[in-house]
Structure formats: C-alpha cells, structure tokens
C-alpha cells in the first residue's frame, strides 16, 4: 500500500512540475544608469520588479517589504539581451532527411543541462531563439527560450507566450546537403525556390481539402471522408495563415529577393531574414516587405556566399529603416553580443541607442515578443542585465542577469563550476581545444565530414 502511495506521489510530483509556473521574483535595482533602449537613458534611477514584472522606473523608489534591494550604483542597467539566432540548449539541430521538414520542432529536443545556457547568462543574455539548422529549404520549427538555468525540466526554459517560428534556408547549405549530398532537388538556387513554391502550393491544396471536408461534414446525409492528416502540411498552412513567423537563413541578395517575392505571391507577411550578409544590397526591399534582418557584426569569407560581405551591413540596414538585430549563431559569440553590437559603432557609426537596439528591442520585434521584453518599460517582463561599465565598452563586464525578477547570474556569488550534471561514463573530464560552436549544419556531418570546419 505504501508503495502505491509512493508511486502515486511520484507521478503527481512529476505532473505538477510539468505544469508548474516558472519562478517569478521581486527586486528593487537601485541607483544605476538605466538604459531603457526605447525611452532614453536615465541616470541614477531605480527599477522595481514585482512578481516578475517591471512595476516602476524612477528616482528614490523604496522597496516594498520583503523585496530585496540590488545596489547598482556606478553600474549600467539594460534590458536582458536577446539572441535571435542560437542553437544552445539543443540536443539536435538538423533533421536533414528531406528538403522540407516543417513538422519537426526544436522544442522537443531542449537540453536544460547545457552549460552553454549559463555561459550565455554570464554575457547578459536572457532570451535565445533556439533554431533548427540550415540543411533544409524549409526546416523545422524553432523555440524561443528564457534562460532559466537550474531547472531539469525542459519546459521551464520555454518562453510560453512567444509566437511560433520556423526555420527556412537558402543557398549553399540546402543545395549542398540535398542536391550534392543526396542528388535531389534543390541543387541550385532555382531549385530552392521550386522546393518552397511546391511546398506552399501543396499546402494550399491540403488546406482546401480540409475546408471542403469541414463544409461537407455538417450537412445532412453527407458522409465525407476526412483527408489524411499531415503535420508537415498543417504547419505550412499555419505559415500561410500568418500563425508562424518565418526566420530564413540567407546570404546573397538575389536569394533574399527571391523569398520576398515568393512570400508576396503566397500572401505571407511574417518574414525575418537570418544572417543576411548581403542584405545591405536589398535594404529598401527588406525595409518595405519584411520584419527585418538578423545579422552578424563582422563574419565573412568563411564560405563563398559570404565573400562579398561588409561589416557595415547592420549600419546600412539600420539607415534604410530595416528592423535589424545582431545574433550569435554560436555558443561562444552569444556570450558577448554587447561587444558585437558595439562593432556597429566602428563600422557605420551607430549611436549607443541604435547599437543596443540591435540586441534588445529589435530581436524582440523579430521574434514577436516586443510587447513583453526587449526594453525597460513598466509592464514588461523583468529581464535585466547589469554591467560594470557601459555595455558597448570592450571593458564592460556583466555583473548580474535577471529573468522574471529572478537572478540567474551573479558574478559575486556564483561558483566556478556551474554544471548541473556530469557524465557518469566519463572518468576524466574532457578538454575541448576548439569548441565547435557554430551549429547551423550540425547533424549533417555524416554527409561531408564537416568536423574540421569552424563555421558554416
């Protein structure tokens, strides 16, 4: 009998853990230079977070009873940094078995034990867009994570109120994997367009078949046969219906322009370009027809399609009115996105506010979460990064990273070893001399022996 109770108890505990709300905290951050990003920079200002939400911003606020005070005097308080393109905390990245894999979701392979989450926190990053890889023209769906490190439950990391997004990919990666690797379409940029147009056209047929069935179903005497349910097609229909934001891996201007036109033809408006190294060449088009571009600060020449890049890309895009963000696509780079953003001041002379918008409010817009995070505003979620100096200075050191009013990184109190678990089979801790941190093509190595490449 005891055993049964114990089992029931265990099951219940597990179940409550699954549906439990993530932790929300309260704190008063006092006396810092508050960079709101959307409403200017406020000297010697306090930010009050209660139950995970920013409640007040002002001078001389006092802490309600029981609310702890964080002294930020002499420090810089900015919104938690958001990375619109990452692969940390994922167990798998590419389902490289078909040019179209819209049915898979990185939300199913979250690894809450990844030390990369903590390292990102130590760089002030509170939210990352954990993306499917770039092997397929239409890849899998992505998940937006809040870096609530410390939990064993993958669901705790999900930003539940973020909209759905999906990965697309153009150019060398899908043509290499499928055209040259498997000898199927696409082998060229013509084929990439064809694969995407075919997929959406099929999805329209699928949608139509269901609409017909649903219309028939209610009628008296009608006994329609339901179409075969297909998660891949349903996901594509959801894109066509505006329920999913496309985030498309892209480099060259022509392929970016191609997808803009395809989306126009299918009435799709929710479109963000990723990497977008040649976005600067089609900046007016990106500004008018898309939700923007998420770019690298200075990566180029690691493959041919990025040879004609410029580190001035972000500045040109910003000046042309494109919603622009700077992303990492790397477990290493994610740790210093503030520094990457700073490079736009050397390459194009962006203002402090413009540069910081690249890693806060702009990626939030691209992920559809700008009403909740991305700036320090009353009513937004309490996601904050505190720095020792202005975050665009190369000498700035992140001091504290806060999500929903809860501290997840604190330079003063954290241990050196922040792993949540160690491998039971490893006798000696492995040493990795060059972390393979760029994972866009992970899980496709079997095709090409990519192990020696450092970027894709």
């Amino acid at each position: 009998m005891k055993k049964i109770f114990f089992t029931i108890g265990l099951v219940l505990t597990g179940f409550t853990a699954m549906i439990a709300q993530t932790k929300k905290g309260s704190m008063l951050i006092k006396g810092g230079t508050v960079i709101t990003v959307t409403n200017g920079t406020l000297e010697n200002t306090d930010v009050l977070i209660q139950d995970g939400i920013i409640k007040q911003i002002g001078k001389g606020l006092s802490a309600p009873s029981g609310v702890k005070v964080v002294d930020a005097s002499g420090q810089f308080v900015m919104p938690g940094i958001i990375d619109a393109h990452s692969h940390i905390a994922l167990d798998a990245v590419n389902e490289a078995t078909s040019p179209v894999t819209a049915e898979v979701w990185t939300g199913d392979v979250i690894d809450p034990l990844d030390i990369g989450i903590y390292r990102a926190l130590a760089g002030g990053v509170t939210i990352s867009h954990a993306m499917h890889g770039s092997a397929n023209a239409i890849g899998g769906q992505n998940v937006t994570l809040k870096h609530r490190y410390g939990t064993m439950n993958p669901d705790d990391l999900k930003m539940q109120d973020a909209p759905r997004t999906i990965k697309f990919a153009l150019g060398e990666n899908p043509t290499r994997v499928h055209g040259r690797g498997n000898n199927i379409q696409p082998r060229s940029r013509m084929g990439v367009e064809a694969v995407i147009r075919n997929a959406f056209s099929e999805a329209l047929q699928y949608k139509d078949a269901w609409a017909k069935y649903n219309a028939e179903k209610g009628k008296k005497g009608a006994r329609p046969v339901p179409p075969k349910s297909d998660l891949r097609m349903q996901t594509l229909v959801d894109i066509l219906d505006g329920k999913i934001i496309i985030h498309c891996h892209s480099y060259r201007a022509d392929e970016i322009y191609m997808l803009i036109k395809v989306c126009q033809d299918f009435g799709i408006e929710k479109l963000v370009f990723q990497h977008t190294n040649e976005g600067f060449k089609v900046a007016p088009e990106l500004a008018k027809y898309t939700m923007g571009a998420s770019v690298f600060a200075d990566w180029w020449a690691y493959k041919f399609e990025v040879y004609y890049s410029t580190a001035y890309n972000a500045a040109i895009l910003m000046e042309n009115g494109v919603v622009t963000s700077i992303n990492s696509d790397s477990g290493e780079l994610i740790r210093h996105l503030y520094h990457e953003a700073g490079k736009t001041q050397r390459y194009g002379g962006l203002s402090d506010e413009q540069a910081l918008s690249l890693i806060t409010i702009n990626p939030a817009k691209q992920l559809g979460i700008a009403d909740k995070v991305g700036s320090i505003e009353v009513g937004k979620q309490g996601d904050i990064a505190i720095f020792s100096a202005h975050p665009l200075s190369v000498y700035a050191i992140p001091q504290m990273t806060i999500i929903d009013g809860v501290t997840y990184f604190d330079i003063k109190n954290d241990r050196d070893d922040m792993r949540l678990a160690v491998s039971p089979t490893e006798q000696v801790e492995p040493i990795f001399l060059s972390e393979h941190d760029h994972k866009c093509m992970q899980d496709t190595e079997w095709l090409f022996g990519l192990a020696e490449h450092s970027h894709e």
């Binding site: 008018k288 410029t310 210093h336 200075s393 050191i397 792993r419 006798q427 001399l433």
Partner: protein, 432 residues
Amino acid sequence: MNKMKKILYSLLVALCPLLAFGQIDGETPKPQAGTFFLTNAKIVTVTKGTIAKGSVLIQDGKIADVGANLTAPSGAQVIDLNGLSIYPGLIDSGTSLGLVEVGSVPETNDNVEIGTVSPQMQALTAVNPNSVAIPVTRVSGVTTVIANPAGGLFPGTAALINLVGYTPDQMYAGFKGIVMNFPSSARRSNFDRRTDAQIKEAADKAMKNINDLMDKAKLYADIDAATDVRYYPEMAALAEVVKGNTTLLIEVNAAADILEAIKWVQERKVKAIFTGVLEGWRVADKIAAAGIPVVTGPMLGMPTRGSDRYDKAYANPGLMAKAGVKVAIRTSDTENVRNLPFNAGFAAAYGMGKEEALKAVTINPAEIFGVADKLGSIEKGKSATLLVADGDPFETKTNIMHVFIDGYKIPMTNRQVRLYQEFLKRDPGLVK
C-alpha cells in the same frame, strides 16, 4: 552585308575608347611612401612612456624622430593630428591571413600541405599579397601578423609579415619559425569521439615519431657538418632547430601537455615559443620558471572544460602575465584578424590590464620574434609601423584614422568600405 560589317566595325572602333575609359574610371588609392610629419599627437610609445603632445617624423620608411618639440623638415607632408593618439602597429602573433581566402573553398586554402612532416614548407611562399582580407585587416591598425601553416606534426615554417607590399619578400618582417604540433592528450573539438585510451595511444605514437625525427635531425646536422649529404629538405629544416638557429613554435594547449612540452624543450635544448596555451593559467608558474614565451588566443573563446569558470579564456593571458610569463596575443583567425584589438581589450578587462594587454600586441611579440629593433614601439630608428586613433584602439567606438606600415601611408579603404559607400543610399532605391 558588307555595309553591315562596316557599320559594326566602325561602331566597335568608336566604342573602344569608351571601354578603355570604363576600365580606368575612378581612383584606386595606393599605399604611399614619403616623408611625413605627424604632429599635435598624444604618443603612446609603449616602451618609453606617453608623450602628451608631440610629433613623429617618418622618413625612408623609419621613425626618424619622436619628441615633444620637433619641427617639420622642409618637404615633409605635415599631418596635424589635433590631439589624436599614435600607437605602434598591432601585431597578431598567429593567423592564417594571406594563406586562406575563403574558408570552405579548398582551392583557396594554402595553409595545409600533404604529409605530417613538412617543416621546410614556407608559409611565406603561399602568402597572397592581394588577399582581399589584407586591406580589410590593416585599417583596424593591425599592421603585422604571423602567417601560420597548419596540420600534422611539423606543418611548415611560419613567417612574420607586414600587411603592405606586392611580393611576399616585400611583406616579410624578419622572423620565421618552424611550427610543431605537440601531441595532445585533449580532444580537438566536441566532434572528436575517440576514447581516452585512443587519444593517449595516438599522442604516444606522435611523440615517439617526433623524438625519432629529432634524433635523426641531430644525426643529419652532425653529418652535414662533416661532409655533403643527400638532398633531404625535411632534415635540413629540422637540423637548424637542433643547431639552435631556428625557433620552434610549439602549439600546445592542455595543462598536462604543456608540462610535457616544457620537459621536452629542456631535454632537447631547442629554442621554443609556446602557442595556443589555452590552459596556460593552470600551470602558469611552471611556464614562467622555464622562461618560455607564450603566444595565446583567441581570447574570445570558450573555456576548455565544462567545469571551468565561464571567463577563463578571457582571463588566461592576464593570469599567465601575472605569473611572470611573457605573453603575446593572437586571434588565430583569417578574415577577422581585425578583431585583434578587441581580443586584447577582453584580456585587459579580465585581469591583464590595459598596459600589459597593449604590450601583448606590440612590444612583447616584437621581442618574442626577435624583431624589437624594428617593431613594437614608437622609437627613433624603428620601422614606421604605427596607427593613429581618435581614442583607445581596443574600444569598438574608436575610429582608426591613419595607418602607416613600413613607412607607407595606408589608404583607409577596402572592399567592405566601398560596399558601404555604394549601398548606404542605393540608387535606384525601391523603385527605378
């Protein structure tokens, strides 16, 4: 028909001059030699303090004079810097610049040769003076780099090059060293799926191989001194190491390997520089005691172990310097060697301090590579290799205003800048 041909012919003739003009339209600025007088500048000499307001005279490729109260000689091109700062050109102590153009395109990769023992392969031979990445790099103030061959046990001979010149010889900056990859007990990356036993077996085998080679090189050197020997370029190159004429650049990273490498260097009595040294902080006092200089980086890297504090890669050069190791910094990069000053900035922020970090990209590498008579500081008689900035060159907000390499005034443009100029306000814009 004949008439048609005639018309076509005359059209062609008429077009020819137009075509020719098309080819030479626009100006391409070139590096410019001359006598330059840089004045009203803050001069950070690195070795002899900072001159709050002074001048630098550049003549015949050299720093002809430095000081607070100089006057411009007649005929000098005077550049009033109006309070800007002069620093020595920055030196990246380990790159693939000039050897690799596009990473994923094998046809453009000239840093790895067939075979594991090829110390005689000359990186300098394969340096492409016209690499697009060179002008992209030097406008950041990085003026001088080590171009490294890679792969195998002895991949070849690295060379120090200045980022100006039309032939490798014009670029050569006075140091060559043979690269050696010390057998590693660590994993190459998280793709390395070998067991611990397999890794050890491979390392032991590589070590035996190296020792056999060095023994053979010693024999070769001894015979060579007595008589003519058969053409054997690998041994000829290694014999110079045995004789102490050529320095080994020993790539070694894991703590245990560093200790082994120290023992090996002492036993073999070779001149050595350690490169990589990512876990140097773990055994910093041992490296310092051995007196072996270190080239480390990139700073913007991951800790080598999951249990290590997140900032260990940033902190490593500072921890080694504090223990008394002479440290130079490298990016280990190709197209983004321009990030060297930012690597130094991170090292500075995480414990090294600005002054020591500046040395690690100027005078320290110059001393380590034995070229401190020419490079590494703003001193009279040294090569005129310097940068002019409107602030701290490690900060991203700072603009690098002028760069001089070997006395050449470098045009502050490159393909990335030209793309910016063309596309900032594209015409036609959205509609034609």
